[in-house]
């Protein structure tokens, strides 16, 4: 079971408020009925009022909760969609912020990413490649091409001097990478993100879901160690913060891992052994699996189930109030 929009659950904080309003309404209602009816029939009227208030409130609260759950987009089970694609398009999105110069992986995070990309390009003959560089902004360096010479020279060029915007924005990176795929191509599509995961802005879950819906796989590679390393500057010096301490950058794989999961890809750590064969293998498996089956599995969205019950609860709420139940009971 997966939740497409977990942020919708934040709406549940309103449940206690709704209950509070209903309880206050009930207590004020008791006083009002006492005033109107007098003490003669008070106990019967009050019982009726209690029962109606209780079930009415319960059904309304249930309506609200069910609607929020429906909004969260729960899905379980799998269904298949036909997908006649063959061949592979890969767009590399490379973080070129200064922290990628840290040398906690050898020779440096960026150089390691370059080596990994070369390994992929070498292993996947016949694939087309594109390159997007990003920091706080993202730019398309190389459009999707088969041209090995152009790919090679572009990979040698990727470095922090390309973009001067500070920060790391995975959302823009992912959007730019997704836009790199032509819409009329019949090939499988995969994005590979190289970053230390120290994202400062942007919410990448939107484009990640879009990618998932369009069948674009997202593979993420964390480059860097949790222990981290000092951030050098372009001129060979070291970066210092406002207090004069050297800037230390640690890899944060969590967001990258989540992004890959959303779009049915893998997350890899650039420091783990065998990564140079695992990344190309993962990509060719992504291509091969779908090729042989001719379809792709997607989770089944179950919002209608919850929405349906929410509507039933709302009708129950209305009927509890509007029907004179005492005629039958």
């Amino acid at each position: 079971m997966s939740v497409a929009h977990p942020e919708a659950f934040r709406l549940l904080v309103a449940v206690p408020l709704i209950v509070l309003v209903l309880v206050l309404n009930y207590r004020a209602g008791c006083k009002d009925t006492a005033r109107l009816i007098g003490s003669l029939h008070e106990s019967t009227v009050r019982n009726l009022f209690l029962v109606k208030s209780f079930f009415g409130g319960l059904s309304f609260t249930a309506f609200y909760v069910l609607l929020v759950v429906s909004l969260a987009g729960l899905s379980w089970g799998l269904t298949t969609v036909r997908e006649d694609r063959s061949g592979l398009d890969v767009v590399f999105a490379v973080d070129v912020s200064l922290s990628m110069l840290a040398e906690d992986v050898q020779p440096s995070r960026l150089a390691r990413s370059g080596d990994l990309m070369r390994a992929v390009v070498q292993d996947l003959a016949g694939a087309r490649f594109g390159v997007v560089a990003f920091t706080g902004s993202a730019t398309r360096l190389l459009p999707l091409t088969e041209d090995q010479a152009a790919i090679e020279s572009m990979l040698n060029l990727v470095g922090p001097e390309l973009l001067s915007t500070p920060g790391t924005d995975l959302e823009r990176a992912l959007s730019a990478a997704i836009e790199s795929f032509p819409s009329d191509s019949d090939r499988h599509r995969a994005v590979v993100i190289f970053s230390d995961g120290e994202a400062h802005s942007g919410d990448e879950s939107g484009p990640a879901r879009e990618a998932a819906a369009r069948g674009i796989g997202i593979f993420t590679v964390t480059v860097g160690t949790p222990e981290g390393g000092a951030v050098p500057l372009l001129d060979g010096g070291r970066a210092f913060d406002r207090d004069g301490n050297p800037v230390h950058s640690r890899a944060e794989p969590e967001r990258l891992r989540r992004t890959a999961e959303v779009a049915g890809g893998f997350h890899l750590d650039a420091s783990e052994p065998g990564v140079f064969s695992r990344l190309p293998d993962a990509l060719s498996a992504f291509e091969g699996r779908r090729d042989s089956e001719g379809f792709r599995t997607v989770p089944v969205e179950r919002y209608r189930f919850f929405l349906g019950w929410a509507l039933i609860m709302l009708v129950v709420h209305i009927l509890i109030r509007s029907l004179r139940w005492r005629r039958w009971f």
């Binding site: 109107l36 208030s53 016949g126 594109g130 009329d184 209608r304 209305i318």
Partner: protein
Amino acid sequence: MWVLEQPVALLLLALVPLVIYLRHGAPNRGGRLRFPISVWGGKHFVPRVWSVAFLYRLSILAFWLGVVICIVALASPARVYRERINLTRGMDIVFVLDESPTMAAMDFEPYNRFEAAKRIIRRFVRGRENDAIGIVSFARDAALRVPPTVDHEHLLEELDRLSVMELGDGTAIGLGIALGALHLQSSSAEQRVLILLTDGKNNVSEILPGVAAGVARDLGVRIHTVGIGSQGEIPIEFTDPQTGRTYRGTVSDSYEADALRDLANVTGGNFFEAASLGSLEAVFQTLDTVETVERRARVEVRTESLYRHFIVLGLILIMFDFVVRRMLLRERL
């Protein structure tokens, strides 16, 4: 286009009037206490504050509108996109574009040769959706501007950025062809084509055009050559991108028709001459018809579900009603 994926759910709308009747119209409906408030034969009780009555009606309207919207959401509203998916591999085309200073000659009214070439290439690219197209430009030196790609949006952006004399003064036709051929080397397309546009003679001898054409032929690349420019003294004006200085004068230099024809013949391509904007257009129309590959495509339907927008709107409307009646108007049940 908008569709409902589960239109059956809309049948629930038929039940809405019934529930509205039970809630607002049925005699003897519950949830209210009836008591006499007017004296016999006197006037009825009317709420005096019009805004309260207005708010009450508004909240009722919002509530039922919210219910209807939720029912529509249950019918799975979605937007449908139709995308054409190409099933065949198009050809690879690389333009080898002269950007020597003489390309700024003004004999392609109202543009100079270079701008005219850019415009015509742009139009050509628009009509070749399925083909990977790249650009190499040359003057004294040659550079890959765009590798062969089907990402035509990117290609056209880069094409716009080109200007004369960024690669120095000179006409290295051989270098341009060699570089173009190099970038077609790893192409998997069956048809690979170079289109050379130049207005001068080769005057850089690092790689001779004939040798480069031989390399291209061995790689299976066809070269079409287009000689640009008219005879005679042509006014010229350009700005050196390095110094920012503007030069004016006239040129009478021209391309060598025989040399260009040979280049084309060696590789199985054609030689064209374009002395005006109209003739350049005609050349590209010919190229467009000469270079064709079979093309098959299928239409893929992609749906984007919109139910969340409907649920959000429904939720807002119904909660508005809740707040108004339960909190502002202090309704008790």
